[in-house]
């Protein structure tokens, strides 16, 4: 590869600073998946139609397949890999699990980021059903009909459970 197509860029990825030489023709999705091995984000179209590749760049939700990696120089990037911490799922992730919002799971990493961005933007506000639907209209899911995803988004917006550890979907023998 010639020098003209390589460029050194620096960004933080899930809170960790990285500096690397990237092929300037690559999308951020390609750099994250191929160069950094962050395969959580998925690609269902590669041209900004499906949202499976959604990630956050400086707190804004983007389709990483149509976001050039060079644009991410000096940015703070969040991907699905950074959402679960210390063996614990994020509230959004937990809501998707609890509400049965995951089927094949291919749209899931993108949806998790879309909901996370939405929840963070709407903190403290009340939102309508339409706002929930519109905020996720850029993410396609072919399995769920969006119903359980809708429920998961609603659940992600509820104030924290005063009694953590309570399990409202019992899965123990009883």
């Amino acid at each position: 590869m010639t020098d003209q197509v390589l460029k050194q860029i620096t960004f933080t990825i899930n809170g960790v600073k990285r500096s690397l030489a990237i092929d300037i023709r690559k999308s951020l999705a390609e750099v994250l998946r191929q160069d950094l091995g962050l395969t959580g984000l998925k690609q269902g179209c590669g041209v900004g139609e499906c949202g499976a590749c959604s990630i956050m760049v400086d707190d804004v939700l983007v389709d990483s397949c149509i976001f050039l990696a060079v644009w991410a120089d000096n940015a703070a990037i969040r991907t699905v890999e950074g959402e679960a911490r210390d063996g614990k799922l994020s509230k959004v992730q937990q809501a998707y699990v609890d509400e049965g919002a995951v089927q094949c799971g291919y749209c899931t990493p993108g949806f998790i980021m879309a909901t996370t961005a939405f929840v963070e933007q709407c903190e403290g506000k009340t939102v309508s059903d339409d706002e929930i639907r519109k905020a996720h209209a850029g993410n396609l899911c072919r399995c769920t009909g969006y119903q359980h995803i809708f429920n998961a988004v609603e659940k992600s917006m509820t104030p924290d459970d005063p009694m953590p550890g309570q399990d409202d979907h019992p899965n123990q023998e009883s």
């Binding site: 998925k42 139609e49 991907t79 799922l89 699990v97 049965g100 072919r142 769920t144 995803i149």
Partner: protein, 769 residues
């Protein structure tokens, strides 16, 4: 009790964290990329191919054309091998073709070190053609002098006839009324979110490993062997997590090619990762149908006769084509078992993309026509459409006259009653009387469905399960049942937990298929998975339970009949006292120097029954005449799928199916140029499958019956929910407007023509209503 509970999906955490690995997430060092060179015409023959320029591109390792591939045709349909000639799949495919049969046909393939080089080189392969008029319209395809799309074969791929329930002509003669209708459905696409992708490499001189996003790993293994003339044991297929299939991956699409390429390239890893546009155009989709239906009905509401004549278009290659119409037609006998019924279908080749298996396999097309025709019959005699159905649909104890089997479980009547209550049918029917004129109209609609729980007796139904006790007292389960997102691994774990009396968390399922390792099962299709695996799992879990108790008996010097497993502990069933925990038993079985061994059980089981399932959709719609727009205000699907193993997962299947049905009803269709065969909308922007803002809240309900032929009382559920929404919506639009829209989808375009021809619109944007 684990069965019947909404336990969390076994793979949910892996998926929400992005740690679940799909085919694209596995790479081999130095893996090559392959790109097809596709035809730019729909019908013709290649007269010359020049690959010189392509080979000069930096990074290109090889170019193969139709001249370089084995010349044995093979069948791609993901069916079990048929021992009888009648059910044999049509062998009409080569790895690359000189005869072009649809726009996008595969003429050559370029292999390069990276995707850019491969794409660039593929664009530089020069192809010259002799061109023929594309055959797209059924009339042209069936014309006496039509060119055979496959040399030496008729353009009719298959023809099917059924008659049951007595003399059909006589029944029509005696009917008080005969109602006729003509219906057409569009070619729609699965649009599973993960495109087709596979790679292959060799890990020995004569052994190929294929990693593929497939619903049918064991079948893929056999077909690759057939396509390449290699023994099956030299081919290993690994299926990682799968991003949806809906039937599109119940076909062998990429596996033979990647296997061929690695063979040719000295065992190097080669991947094909289809773009969305390629995946939509060049894999499979749903057969468009043209159907004429005649219904004979008595004044008292008895359905006495039915005659259906269907044409199904399979496109350029047979794939599943020959089986789809037959399978779809056969569902009538379990839905309306008493009417004298005749079904005739012809499946045709055409120069359009290839149709194959798609969720519910011919049934959505047939039931759409059937349930529209049923509605028309009810209206003819002025009977309420729900009452009409209640009078005629199957009930438990009826005989399915096509299979000559008794229907052992059937909750359809209750499904209809519950749906009617939910939608508030009687009240709204009256309320909506005032919305039958003017620009905004309202209506209610209903449609029923029946489906099967597998493919027997057309195909073998075989499932395998192996369960092993781990040293920590948990179990690992291996099944050939193929998880594709539908949740089969979770329900398998629930079944094992139920029978072993283990906590659900202590049952682990090996979550990848590997044909060298997993027991034989033909894969995920026909909504068969939970039904056919249930018997294998039930038997294997019972076998392991006996072995665990036998070992407990040896350890405790007790007769095993006095021992039991309760919540993963060995219990004395006379006193209910715990004797030991599972870990203690496991450790003894593994490490005691004289007794025991690893405790395992393995069953391969053939199911020789096929339980019919039932359901219905109720909808409440508003039709905006000037906007030519249908709004679904409310929708509910009610299903009898036997015992519901996992209510939340089952609801997810129903919602997903209803959503796909909504798309097929209102917006989804391949726009194919009738002259050239060009597809205008093979991408997710122009192909309109519903987004989050396009679907109403989706409702569901289950009427739980117990199916005695199933290990846990469960029946099929994956596909049925897609079937009944389109006719229910069509019937609601009829209720609202008085117009029969007999073409899918009921897009604004279709509505505009219909409203115009009925004088509702003047065609210049004005309205007459």
């Amino acid at each position: 009790m684990a069965v019947g509970k909404s336990v969390k999906r076994i793979d949910a955490v892996a998926k929400v964290t992005g740690r679940a690995r799909y085919t694209e997430d596995f790479f081999e060092p130095d893996m090559l990329t392959a790109k097809y060179v596709r035809s730019t015409i729909a019908h013709g023959r290649v007269t010359a191919v020049n690959t010189d320029k392509a080979r000069q591109i930096e990074g290109v390792e090889a170019v193969f054309t139709y001249e370089d591939v084995p010349q044995t045709t093979f069948a791609t349909a993901g069916h079990p091998m048929a021992l009888s000639e009648v059910h044999k799949d049509v062998e009409d495919r080569l790895l690359l073709t000189r005869d072009v049969r649809f726009m996008g046909d595969e003429i050559a393939i370029v292999v390069a070190r990276n995707e850019l080089a491969a794409s660039e080189a593929a664009g530089l392969v020069e192809v010259e053609y002799e061109t023929y008029d594309p055959l797209i319209d059924p009339e042209d395809i069936l014309a006496q002098d039509a060119r055979p799309i496959h040399e030496g074969r008729s353009n009719i791929v298959g023809e099917h006839n059924y008659t049951f329930g007595g003399d059909v002509d006589q029944a029509f003669d005696q009917a008080d009324h005969v109602v006729e209708g003509r219906f057409a459905t569009a070619m729609v696409q699965h649009c599973q979110l993960e495109n087709h992708i596979a790679h292959a490499y060799m890990d020995d001189l004569d052994k190929i490993v294929i990693v593929s996003s497939t619903q049918i790993p064991h079948i893929a293994r056999r077909i690759v062997g057939e396509a390449l003339g290699m023994p099956l044991s030299r081919i290993r297929v690994i299926k990682p997590f799968l991003g949806g299939g809906f039937g599109n991956k119940q076909d062998v699409v990429l596996e033979p090619m990647v296997a061929f390429l690695t063979l040719k390239l000295n065992g190097r890893a080669v991947q094909i990762n289809m773009t969305r546009e390629e995946c939509m155009l060049c894999t499979r989709n749903r057969h468009p149908f043209y159907i004429d239906v005649k219904t004979g009905v008595m004044n008292d509401g008895t359905l006495v006769a039915r005659d259906m004549d269907a044409i199904s278009i399979t496109g350029a290659y047979a794939s599943h084509g020959h089986a789809i119409a037959a399978a779809g037609g056969s569902k009538q006998s379990s839905l309306y078992p008493k009417a004298a019924t005749r079904f005739h279908a012809r499946t045709l080749y055409a120069n359009i993309p290839v149709a194959g298996a798609m969720r519910a396999y011919g049934t959505p097309q047939v039931i759409y026509a059937l349930e529209c025709a049923t509605e028309d019959a009810a209206r003819k005699i002025g009977m309420d459409p729900v009452e009409f159905r209640l009078k005629n649909v199957a009930r438990q104890g009826d005989i399915n006259l096509l299979s000559n089997k008794e229907i052992l479980s059937c909750g359809l009547v209750e499904c209809l009653e519950r749906g009617r209550d939910f939608i508030d049918w009687n009240r709204k029917k009256k309320d909506y009387e005032q919305f039958k004129t003017g620009p905004i109209r309202k209506g209610l609609g209903v449609a029923c469905l029946s489906y099967a729980s597998g493919t027997y007796p057309v195909c073998v139904e075989i499932a395998g399960s192996r369960i092993a006790l781990n040293q920590d007292g948990t179990v690992h389960v291996l099944v050939g049942a193929t998880e594709i997102g539908q949740g089969s691994d979770t329900v398998v774990a629930q079944m094992v937990a139920q029978t072993l009396s283990f906590p659900y968390e202590d049952v682990l399922v090996v979550q990848a298929q590997d044909t060298d390792v997993t027991p034989f099962d033909t894969g995920a299709y026909a909504s068969r998975q939970a039904y056919v695996v249930s018997n294998a799992v039930f038997k294997a879990a019972n076998q392991l339970r006996d072995r665990i108790l036998a070992h407990a008996g040896i350890m405790t010097d007790e007769d095993p009949k006095h021992l039991d497993i309760v919540n993963a502990r060995i219990v004395d069933n006379r006193t209910s006292e715990a004797v030991m925990d599972m870990k203690t038993l496991a450790i003894d079985s593994f490490y005691h120097k004289e007794r025991g061994g690893q405790l395992t059980a393995e069953i391969s089981y053939k199911t020789t029954t096929n339980a019919p399932v039932f359901g219905c959709t109720f909808v409440d719609v508003t039709v905006d005449i000037p906007l030519c727009k249908i709004t679904v205000n409310q929708i509910i699907n009610v299903h009898d799928s036997g015992v519901i193993i996992n209510p939340v997962q089952a609801a997810g299947q129903v919602h997903g199916g209803a959503f796909m049905g909504l798309g097929a009803a209102l917006s989804e269709e391949f726009l194919i140029d009738p002259e050239s065969g060009y597809v205008y909308n093979n991408n997710l922007l122009d192909y309109k499958f519903p987004t989050f803002t396009d679907v109403p809240p989706l409702n569901h309900d289950f009427v739980e019956t117990f199916e005695p032929t199933s290990g846990y009382g469960n029946k099929a559920l994956g596909e049925p929910p897609v079937v009944s929404p389109p006719p229910a919506i069509r019937n609601a639009v009829l209720d609202a407007t008085g117009i029969c829209i007999n073409t899918l989808p009921m897009s604004p375009h279709t509505l505009f023509s219909a409203f115009k021809s009925h004088g509702f619109l003047d065609g210049k944007g004005g309205q007459h209503v």
